[in-house]
C-alpha cells in the first residue's frame, strides 16, 4: 500500500496525465459532478458521485461503427475507428466499478464486442472508497463494499492523505510510475477509514433492502404480479433511469444520412421507450407497464438467471435521485418483494 498527501494530488494527476488521458469527477456549474478530462488546473470534485456513470468510457452514449460513403451510385465502406489511447479513470466508486463487471459479461462474452473490448483494454480504473454515502445508497444489497472498491487500483481518502493499493498488473504498473510521488505505508489508516464507512453503512436507511425475492428462476412468480400496474402507473416513459444507470447496456444501431453517405452508429436505448426493440411486426411490449416491468425484471431476474445469480444493479442510487416521478428499483424491490419495512 502506498500513500501520498492530498496536497500533492495534482502532481499525481499530472504524472498520470503524462502517459494517458486522465478523467476524474469535476464539479460543473449546475452543482453536479461529471467525469472530465484532467488538465492543469482542473479541480477534483468532492461529490459522492457523478450524475452520469462512468460506463460512458467503455460504452459511450453515441459511438460511430462505420461509415458508408456514396458517390452517385457507388458505395464505399469506411472504418471509422481511430487508434485508442490509454486512459485512466480516477475516483470510480465501488458500485460503479462493479458495474463494469456486469457490462463485461454482456459485451465480452462471445461474440465479443470489439469496440467495448478495445476500450476496456486501454482503460485503467482507479477506484475510490466512499466516505460519505448518501441515503440513496444500497450497494450493500448487492454485496458491494464501498470501503473496499475494486478496480485496477483501489484508493482511500482520509482528511489529509490518499492511499493506493494495486489490484491488477495494469494497476501495479501505473502505481509504479507514481512511486516518486507516493510512499510505502501500512494499512492502519485505511482500516480505520473502513471502520468508519462500515459504521455509516449500518445507519443507511436502505440497509435492510434484500434481493431475497429475486434472482434467476423467479420469472413465473413475479411476471404477473399485480403490483406492476401501480408501480408503473406514473412512469412517464422517459429514459432518465436508463441513462444514468451504470449497468443498463441496451443500445440501438441507427443510420444517419449525412448527405454524402451514411454514418452507422450505435447509441444508448432505453427499454422505457415506446419504440424499444420495435420490429417489422411492431412492438413486443405494448404498454408502459410492460416496458417498466421489463427493466426491473431484467435487472433482478433475467440477468441473474443468465449470469450466475449476479444482479444487474449495483445500488448506486442514481435512479432514486433522478427519476422525475421518484419511482425506482428500491420501490419495486420492496413492493414486489413484499418486504416493505415499516
Amino acid at each position: 500500500m502506498r500513500k501520498c498527501s492530498l496536497d500533492k494530488i495534482n502532481l499525481i494527476f499530472a504524472e498520470i496525465a503524462k502517459n494517458a488521458e486522465l478523467y476524474l469527477p469535476v464539479d460543473q456549474n449546475d452543482g453536479s459532478a461529471a467525469y472530465k478530462k484532467w488538465e492543469e488546473g482542473t479541480a477534483w470534485s468532492n461529490k459522492l458521485n457523478t450524475v452520469k456513470s462512468p460506463k460512458d468510457f467503455f460504452f459511450p452514449q453515441t459511438e460511430d461503427l462505420m461509415q458508408f460513403k456514396t458517390q452517385g451510385k457507388n458505395i464505399e465502406i469506411v472504418d471509422t475507428r481511430s487508434a485508442l489511447q490509454d486512459f485512466v479513470i480516477f475516483g470510480v466508486r465501488a458500485c460503479d466499478v462493479k458495474s463494469f463487471d456486469i457490462l463485461d459479461r454482456v459485451f465480452l462474452s462471445e461474440p465479443v464486442d470489439s469496440f467495448y473490448a478495445s476500450r476496456r483494454k486501454h482503460g485503467v480504473i482507479i477506484s475510490l472508497a466512499c466516505t460519505r454515502p448518501s441515503e440513496t445508497c444500497f450497494c450493500k444489497t448487492f454485496d458491494i463494499d464501498p470501503a473496499n472498491p475494486t478496480g485496477d487500483i483501489s484508493a482511500w481518502k482520509t482528511e489529509s492523505e490518499i492511499f493506493f493499493a494495486a489490484n491488477t498488473e495494469k494497476g501495479a504498473a501505473l502505481l509504479d510510475k507514481l512511486s516518486s510521488l507516493t510512499e510505502e505505508c501500512d494499512d492502519a489508516a485505511v482500516l480505520e477509514q473502513k471502520e468508519k464507512i462500515n459504521a455509516i453503512m449500518d445507519k443507511l436507511p436502505l440497509k435492510n433492502l434484500t434481493t431475497d425475492a429475486f434472482g434467476g428462476g423467479k420469472t413465473n412468480e413475479l411476471f404477473n404480479a399485480p403490483e406492476w400496474d401501480e408501480l408503473s402507473s406514473a412512469c412517464l416513459g422517459c429514459g432518465t433511469c436508463t441513462f444514468v444507470c451504470p449497468t443498463c447496456q441496451c443500445y440501438d444501431i441507427k443510420d444517419f444520412n449525412t448527405g454524402n453517405g451514411v454514418v452507422r452508429f450505435r447509441c444508448w436505448d432505453s427499454c422505457m421507450y415506446s419504440d424499444f426493440t420495435k420490429m417489422a411486426h411492431g412492438n413486443n411490449r405494448l404498454t408502459q407497464k410492460e416496458r417498466f416491468r421489463q427493466r426491473f425484471m431484467h435487472k433482478l431476474v433475467y440477468y441473474p438467471e443468465n449470469n450466475d445469480g449476479l444482479f444487474s444493479c449495483v445500488g448506486c442510487g442514481r435512479c432514486l435521485a433522478k427519476c422525475p416521478i421518484s419511482m425506482n428499483i428500491v420501490k419495486v424491490m420492496k413492493k414486489i418483494g413484499g418486504k416493505k419495512d415499516e
Binding site: 458517390q71 452517385g72 451510385k73 444520412n257 448527405g259 454524402n260
Partner: protein, 664 residues
C-alpha cells in the same frame, strides 16, 4: 425505388449557352434512382415530348425530372406528357435551370455546377413522389344568395337565367335593400325604383328563385358543392302563401306610432305593416314588439279584417335545412351611426340628417311625399350645407369613423346638390369636401355640371361645428383655398355618413369560415384576379359586403359572382387540386392548431375509435382534411407539432430531401 428519367433541355441556346447540358445529363445519370438521362434542344417541343414518352416506355420509368425553364412555364405541359405516357402526372418534377440558373449566371462552370445541383434536388424529390389522384365531389346544383339587395337580386337573376335554382335569404320583410330607399341614381338621374322594382318582380316571378324574406342563415356546414345550410324563417304571424297584400290590416291596425324603418324613422308605420308599396313579397308582417295582440293578447283587429284569413298569431320561427352547391354573400352596407359625431349636432337637431335620410325626404314615396322640407318644422330650407366624408377617411378617429373612403358619397352628394338646385333654385347649396373623387364613366362631367350649371357652392374644407340656434343651424367651417373661416346660417345640414358592412356579416363570415378584413369587409380570394370569390371555395362575394361600391359596380360584380357560381354549378363533379394536406390520424392529437391557421376552414374534427396497443379501444379526436376545400398552402403542416399533418406534393420528406441535395 423509383426509375427516374432525366431530361435536360437546351432551350436552344437559352440554357445550353451557359450550362453544359451534356455534363448535366451525364452527372445526373449516377444519381440514385436515375436509370436514364438525356438532353435535347427543346424538351417542350412535340419531338421533345415524344422523347419523354418513348423513354417512359423503353426504360419503364416511374418518375420524370425535366431540367428546363420554370415550372410556372411548362410544368403543366410535362405533366400532360407524363399522363399521355401512362404515368401519373404528379410523378414529374422540374429543375428550373433557365430562369434561376442559365439566365442569371454568366459563367459556364458555375452555371453547370448549379444546374447539376438543382437537378439532383429534383431527382431527390421525385424519388419520394407518389402518384396523386385529384379527389372528386358531387355538386348540388342550387345556389344560395344571402342578402336581397340589388347585388343579391342581380346575382340570383343571372344564376336563375342559366337554369339553376337559387334561394335568396333576406332578413328584412322585403327584398330591395338600400336601392329601394333611393330616389334617383347618379350620374343618369333615373329613378331608382323605376329600375329596381321590375327586377324585384322578376325575382318574385322567376320559377327558379325562392325568396326567404324575414329570414336568416343560422348554420352553414359542408364545403364547396355541398353546403348544408340552416335558414331560420322568423315568424311574421302572417301566412305568406295566403296574404294578398291588400293592406286592409295595415289600415285598420290601431298601433300606428311605430317608427318606420324604411323611412329611417322620419315617419310612422303600424304594428302590422308592408314596408313599401312595391315590396316583394308583398305580404304583411306583424312587428312582435309593437303588436298588442302578441304582447298581451288584446286586439286581434287585423285578424278580423283579413278577408283571406292570413293572420296567424301562433306562428313560430321555422328552421329550414337546404343543400347548396354555392353561396353568394350579398349582405351589403349601412351608413355608420352618427352618435359619436357630436360636432355635427346630429342628435341635437332634427334638421341635421344623413344623406340616406335626405334620399327619403326627396323621394316621392317618402315621408314628405318628395317635398324637400325641414324635418323639424316642415318648412322649405333655403340654405343647405352638405358635409362630405363624415367618418370616412378618418385616419385619426378610428374609434368613431372609418379609415377607408366610402367611395359613393362624392357622387351622391353632387346628385343631391344638383337635384336641390334644379327643383328649388332659390336654395343656396354648399358642399364641404376634402377631395372630390369622381373616377367613373360620366362622373366628373356630372360633378362639373353641379358646379357649373347648377351653381352648387363647393368649398374645400371641413365643417368644424354645427350649432343649432333658434331655427337656424350655425355652421362653422373653414375654406382651405380662401384660407378663411366661414360662418353659414343653414336650414338643413346633410351628412355624407361613411358606410360600413352590415352587422350580420361578421357572424356570417364565421359560419362560412370566410375571411374578413379589419373593417369587416369580406376578403377576396385574390384582390386583383379573383375579386368576386372568397378564399373559401364555393363562397362568392357580391356588392358592398366586399367593399364600398356604387350601383353599376355592384351590378357588374353581382353578374361576375353569378358567372362564377354558374361555372361551378355547371360541373357535375368537382375535381380538386391533389396537392392538399392530409392528416395521419395515428399521430394526430386533435389539438386544433391546424384548424386555427387554415384560411379555408378545410379542417374538421372527428372522434375516432382507435385500437390501443393493449387491445383496448380509445376514442380520440382527430383532424380530417376536406380535400375539396383545402387549397394546399401548407400552413397547417407547420402548425402541427407532431408532424401528423403533411402536404401531398410538398411533403416534409420531399422538401428535406431537396434541402439535403442542395446542401451536399
Amino acid at each position: 425505388m423509383q426509375r427516374v428519367g432525366v431530361f435536360v433541355c437546351w432551350c436552344g441556346s437559352n440554357i445550353a449557352g451557359t450550362v453544359d447540358v451534356e455534363a448535366v445529363s451525364e452527372a445526373l445519370k449516377s444519381e440514385p434512382g436515375v436509370v436514364f438521362s438525356t438532353n435535347y434542344q427543346y424538351m417542350c417541343s412535340q419531338a421533345g415530348q415524344d422523347m419523354i414518352k418513348d423513354a417512359v416506355k423503353e426504360h419503364n420509368l416511374t418518375g420524370i425530372v425535366v431540367c428546363s425553364c420554370s415550372p410556372r412555364m411548362h410544368e403543366a405541359t410535362f405533366r400532360k406528357t407524363a399522363a399521355a405516357a401512362g404515368l401519373n402526372p404528379y410523378m414529374v418534377e422540374i429543375a428550373n435551370i433557365r430562369e434561376q440558373c442559365s439566365w442569371v449566371h454568366k459563367d459556364v462552370l458555375t452555371g453547370t455546377e448549379k444546374a447539376i445541383i438543382l437537378g439532383k434536388a429534383a431527382v431527390a424529390k421525385v424519388n419520394l413522389n407518389t402518384p396523386l389522384i385529384p379527389g372528386e365531389s358531387p355538386v348540388t346544383k342550387r345556389a344560395l344568395v344571402i342578402g336581397g339587395g340589388i347585388a343579391g337580386i342581380q346575382t340570383a337573376l343571372d344564376i336563375a337565367d342559366a337554369g339553376f335554382e337559387v334561394d335568396i335569404v333576406e332578413k328584412k320583410p322585403t327584398i330591395g335593400g338600400k336601392m329601394a330607399q333611393l330616389d334617383k341614381t347618379f350620374p343618369t338621374l333615373d329613378c331608382a325604383a323605376c329600375i329596381l322594382t321590375p327586377k324585384m318582380v322578376d325575382v318574385a316571378q322567376n320559377e327558379k328563385i325562392r325568396i326567404f324574406s324575414y329570414s336568416e342563415v343560422t348554420e352553414v356546414q359542408g364545403f364547396v358543392g355541398n353546403f348544408d345550410v340552416t335558414i331560420k324563417k322568423n315568424a311574421r304571424y302572417v301566412k305568406e302563401e295566403i296574404c294578398t297584400g291588400c293592406g286592409a290590416c295595415v289600415e285598420k291596425c290601431p298601433m300606428k306610432k311605430i317608427p318606420n324603418e324604411f323611412n329611417l324613422g322620419m315617419d310612422n308605420r303600424s304594428a302590422i305593416y308592408i314596408p313599401f308599396a312595391q315590396a316583394v313579397p308583398k305580404v304583411a308582417t306583424i312587428d312582435p314588439n309593437a303588436c298588442n295582440m302578441l304582447k298581451n293578447g288584446k286586439c286581434g283587429v287585423c285578424s278580423k279584417v283579413c278577408a283571406a284569413g292570413a293572420i296567424d298569431y301562433t306562428q313560430k320561427d321555422e328552421y329550414i335545412n337546404e343543400k347548396y352547391g354555392a353561396i353568394v354573400v350579398a349582405t351589403g352596407f349601412n351608413p355608420i351611426s352618427m352618435d359619436k359625431f357630436d360636432e355635427f349636432a346630429y342628435n341635437q337637431s332634427k334638421d341635421v340628417i344623413t344623406s340616406l335620410e335626405f334620399e327619403r325626404l326627396t323621394n316621392a314615396a317618402g315621408p314628405s311625399a318628395g317635398k324637400l322640407v325641414r324635418p323639424s318644422d316642415g318648412k322649405h330650407p333655403h340654405t343647405i350645407v352638405f358635409v362630405q366624408c363624415v367618418g370616412s377617411r378618418c385616419e385619426s378617429c378610428a374609434e368613431k369613423g372609418k379609415e377607408y373612403c366610402s367611395k359613393i358619397c362624392c357622387m351622391y352628394t353632387a346628385k343631391h346638390a344638383m337635384l336641390t338646385r334644379d327643383k328649388y333654385p332659390d336654395t343656396e347649396v354648399y358642399v364641404f369636401y376634402i377631395d372630390v373623387r369622381t373616377p367613373g364613366k360620366n362622373f366628373d362631367e356630372f360633378y362639373r355640371r353641379a358646379v357649373e350649371e347648377y351653381g352648387v357652392k363647393y368649398v374645400k374644407g371641413m365643417v368644424g361645428k354645427v350649432t343649432p340656434e333658434g331655427d337656424k343651424l350655425k355652421v362653422q367651417a373653414s375654406d382651405l383655398i380662401a384660407n378663411k373661416q366661414l360662418h353659414i346660417d343653414a336650414d338643413l345640414v346633410v351628412l355624407a355618413a361613411a358606410i360600413e358592412p352590415d352587422k350580420s356579416a361578421r357572424p356570417l363570415a364565421t359560419m362560412l369560415t370566410a375571411s374578413m378584413d379589419t373593417n369587416d369587409f369580406f376578403t377576396e380570394a385574390h384582390p386583383k384576379l379573383r375579386p368576386v370569390e372568397s378564399p373559401t371555395a364555393g363562397v362568392f362575394l357580391s356588392g358592398a359586403c366586399q367593399g364600398p361600391k356604387d350601383i353599376p359596380e355592384t351590378v357588374s360584380q353581382a353578374g361576375a359572382a353569378a358567372s362564377k357560381v354558374i361555372g361551378l354549378l355547371a360541373k357535375d363533379k368537382l375535381t380538386g387540386n391533389p396537392c392538399v394536406a392530409n392528416s395521419n390520424e395515428l399521430m394526430c392529437n386533435g389539438c386544433s392548431s391546424c384548424a386555427n391557421v387554415c384560411p379555408y376552414g378545410a379542417i374538421s374534427y372527428e372522434d375516432k375509435e382507435f385500437r390501443m396497443p393493449d387491445r383496448t379501444t380509445k376514442v380520440r379526436r382527430v383532424a380530417v382534411v376536406n380535400p375539396a376545400v383545402c387549397q394546399g398552402c401548407g400552413a397547417c403542416t407547420v402548425a402541427c407539432p407532431s408532424g401528423a399533418m403533411d402536404l401531398k406534393g410538398f411533403a416534409n420528406s420531399q422538401i428535406m430531401a431537396e434541402v439535403d441535395a442542395i446542401c451536399k
